[in-house]
Symmetry: C2
Subunit: 359 residues, 2 copies
DNA sequence: TCGCCTTCGTAGATCGCTCTACACACCTTC
DNA sequence: GAAGGTGTGTAGAGCGATCTACGAAGGCGA
């Protein structure tokens, strides 16, 4: 047990203390071939006594960093932190460590966060960003194992893991339809976030929403509303829509954070789920809270994190053929959705001005 | 504009392409003294053309990593992610990057996460962990700039930044008292989390709670309930307490996540804020949501992140005397607190068995 | 006893960068 | 014109690990 923890202790010091060569110490800490039990004991004792820790940077010069990097679009969305938790627990017991590169306030800055990880020569990258140039990514993937989450393109060089966004969106719309809703608005993020990538999760959900509406004979009622930016709240946008003369009876939100904003607007106006039902996506922790009780589509971030780590470790172990996994989402029915009133879409008592609505 | 992004491009390649020495290139990228405009242009062109990125690991061998590391007890608590956001935006425009070391599932594993950062030779560490051996910390701080958040001990080697937990807890209790509550329970985390450190934030809040209760002449009513572990839900514990023959009329929870658990229990039993009021701590995003509307103590995680980064950059720039900053918390009154009913603490209609309660 | 194989340990090059020390050219200034 | 700046660039050591190549010692069969 580290009696002294001085951070300028090097492998050299350990070697001297144990009376062996640097190479011998290196062998012991790497668990490499050609070490007698006697030497192993001796060296390990010296390591403990000196409180020696190998420098990751020095290791990186020749060998591995034993580090996996994870990149997420924003740390504020609890769904992403679930992925991190899943990944972290999957690494438990391995010699690998996780580091997270947060995107700064300017999420649009392209590959910045992944670059940070690449610069640190992590042994593998787990990324959720869809806003990354595919070519750049392919190139990076040639040198570093990468698993992209939520990217529905089948790369040759990196693995992907997605939930079935098409199916998830269908579930959401059908659920509302089955309850009796017909005027269902889809609220989603600014496409800039996904760099207008047609295979991004939100783009797919929006497309599936439209298609499902059409299948249900509601093509003319389909309406997709985009947020202009993350900060521009879902609440305000929803308020605008809810104040229109004929308001929709249901919202399908692109993710739970948006759904929470809609719920706020609904609460602001004193409306109930029978007036306006709301479905989210991701099934984050807070959705299950009785005070919120948001119907949502679960895509198990935790499991995604675990699977991703497994894929990365396989790659590091030598796999070269790409793997593309899909997991099936699940509808979690809660009290934010309910059958609509008979007189749905009723006009407000007094005529009022149209509030400006985002396009 | 990186035409080609091959990740085995080194400074040597750039030097060759630009027709200068490695040292010259190094000077340009470090913005060091002794570079003519002409050479700077030439080298920068070569860097762009080759898509060169300096390896952080190689840099770390001699110079700096331009990386700050942040360690948090758990990524699931949104208060901590606020700190991260604050820190990230404070680093905007500097050459420093942030990496996060998440604690694995076993949070009790002592200094593990900070160690991960130290192993990577970050230039500065921002840590929230109270569960770290002070000696070990002092020793690490001798070599690396460190700012500890929420640690009320005045170290010689590292800086600290805390909110005034004593004042915050007092505000919470007084607020409930002013509304008319007398039976106020304090629900807090397992002290193991803070390694029973008497200067940890939760220990201080608990002590301040007791003291404030005493000041208000309620010493005999003071009751502190500890959670056994994080997973062992606040909801169950609160349910147990609320089912006692004479139930308290108010809870002061150690942090918002606990408060949410209590609110769940309150909702489970169909009680209102007039039956049981709840105050949290941290004022996380969700507390402000109208459906939750949790009265809480705000300690501005964002600002804490910003201040911490400033302190670290000062240290890196050469400051050696320790700084210990305190920020003042603020009460955010919402609808989870209300004056109690007249017949407060009334017995349930039928006598029932005491449910087991955690100690 | 010799030669060969196996096991254990070491020497030393190497990774990509930083940074000190120094060389060189050109300008002043006396 | 010599001495002393000043401004620009290069050479080369060094950071702390890893890892290949090789040497030494011991075991074993012929």
């Amino acid at each position: 047990m580290a009696i002294q923890v001085n951070h300028s202790i090097t492998i050299e010091d350990v070697a001297r203390a144990a009376g062996v060569s640097r190479a011998a110490v290196s062998k012991v800490i790497r668990d490499a071939y050609g070490v007698s039990d006697e030497m192993k004991t001796k060296v390990e004792a010296a390591i403990d006594e000196l409180g020696y820790r190998p420098r990751v940077s020095a290791r990186a010069m020749r060998g591995a960093t034993y580090t996996l990097g994870i990149e997420i679009p924003t740390i504020k969305n609890p769904f992403f932190t679930k992925i991190i938790s899943g990944a972290a627990s999957a690494l438990e017991g391995t010699r690998y460590q996780l580091i997270i590169a947060p995107m700064g306030p300017h999420h649009d800055r392209g590959p910045q966060a992944i670059q940070v990880l690449a610069d640190r020569q992590v042994d593998g990258i787990l990324a959720v960003s869809t806003a990354v140039d595919p070519e750049w990514l392919e190139d990076l993937a040639r040198h570093t194992p990468i698993v992209m989450l939520g990217r529905h393109d089948d790369s040759q060089h990196y693995d992907t893991l997605v939930n079935d966004d098409v199916e998830g969106a269908r579930m959401a719309v059908r659920h509302l339809y089955d309850l009796g809703h017909r005027d269902i608005v889809h609220l989603t993020i600014d496409p800039v976030w996904e760099k207008h990538l047609p295979t991004g999760p939100h783009a797919l959900r929006a497309r599936s929403y439209r298609q499902t509406m059409a299948e249900l004979g509601l093509a003319d009622k389909a309406r997709v509303v985009f947020l202009k930016s993350e900060e521009d709240g879902a609440r305000e946008v929803a308020l605008g829509i809810l104040r229109e003369p004929v308001r929709p009876t249901a919202f399908f939100a692109g993710h739970d954070e948006l759904a929470l904003g809609v719920l706020t607007a609904v609460a602001d106006l004193g409306l109930t789920p029978s007036d306006v039902s709301v479905v989210g996506y991701d099934d984050t922790e807070i959705a299950a809270h009785p005070l919120v009780s948001l119907t949502s589509i679960n895509q198990s971030g935790t499991r995604m994190g675990e699977i991703t780590v497994r894929l990365l470790l396989e790659r590091i172990a030598g796999r070269t053929e790409p793997v593309h996994e899909v997991i099936t989402p699940k509808l979690m029915t809660r009290t934010s959705t309910a059958p609509p009133h008979e007189g749905r879409g009723r006009k407000p008592q007094a005529p009022r001005l149209l509030t400006p609505q985002p396009k």
